[in-house]
Symmetry: none
Subunit: 154 residues, 2 copies
DNA sequence: TACTGTAATATGGGATACCATGGGAAAGCA
DNA sequence: TGCTTTCCCATGGTATCCCATATTACAGTA
């Protein structure tokens, strides 16, 4: 399978290194990425990490904004401004930079979350909070949908 | 038969492995898969499990959404982040990870419940409680319906 | 229906391979 | 020279392979 899936939490060692889950590394290889791009996620305190295609995706997103408006420029700055890329060492580890820590709140542990075509890096506690929100939204959405169906058949 | 039917309870061994019921395995293997896709169910403490094709179906669903709106992001977060592949070993067993235990409360035994296109993994006690709830809801609903019918004919 | 043998399945355990993690040493940089 | 980064190796823990044994399901026979 060549998609990033499931999540795992790894510890950051004294030198600031953390192992990228083996499963993710094999996906990276299979997709033929030689370098990983880490971008700040737009709405959440997480990093989006993936191959060059991740950049394309963000470009598309920016393209939707009116180029004369502040928003587009802000987004572009936000993404390209400090966009760092992560080097995998021989043991499949990356070094967690201050840039990463600042945006995510990561200190001693990192949770890697598969997102299909890319993956995310989270501070474990913040991830839990976010996950709870997401599940609640989806659950509410599903109830609404089934109520709407019931109403339609009455 | 290519549907998941009936239920069975199996024990988890000292290494955290548990056999997937043979008839469930044959459903998956007939399609040529050697791994399972498991997703944390939204409203109940159970895992929804199926072949990797189950994931495909979800991804197709997401593709219908505007990729830059919150809904698409939530859905992806859920099916990729709350999902995981379970590798079947040669004897048809899977290892029950903390990822599964956390959400389901599973400790020493697992009940596998056929649900047609997928099956579920439950902690036996919780399944009993849930089954009782479901029965009660259904019988309440039936009583309501028959009362409404009686009222209509009076 | 009861009994019996057989095959399929579930379970247990030793050995092995893989992976996260930690630390020493060499290599770059100020 | 100090400091950080990168390489390399050691270790413990976990997952996987492979085989043995127990248990269950099934089919045939009386």
């Amino acid at each position: 399978m060549d998609r990033f899936l499931s999540s795992a939490t790894n510890r950051i060692d004294a030198k600031g290194r953390v192992s990228v889950p083996a499963h993710f590394r094999s996906v990276v290889q299979r997709r033929g990425f030689s370098e990983l791009y880490a971008l700040r996620a737009l709405d959440v305190p997480a990093m989006d990490v993936g191959g060059p295609d991740l950049l394309d995706r963000y470009e598309e997103r920016i393209a939707l904004e009116d180029p004369f408006l502040q928003t587009a420029d802000d987004m572009s700055f936000f993404i390209h401004g400090d966009g760092s890329f992560l080097k995998l060492d021989q043991d499949g580890r990356i070094t967690v930079s201050d840039f990463l820590r600042e945006h995510t709140g990561i200190t001693t542990e990192v949770t890697f979350v598969g997102r299909g075509l890319f993956f995310q890096m989270w501070e474990p506690e913040r991830l839990n909070a976010h996950a709870a929100e997401v599940r609640q939204r989806l659950s509410a959405m599903r109830q609404q949908a089934s109520q709407a169906r019931a109403a339609g058949t009455e």
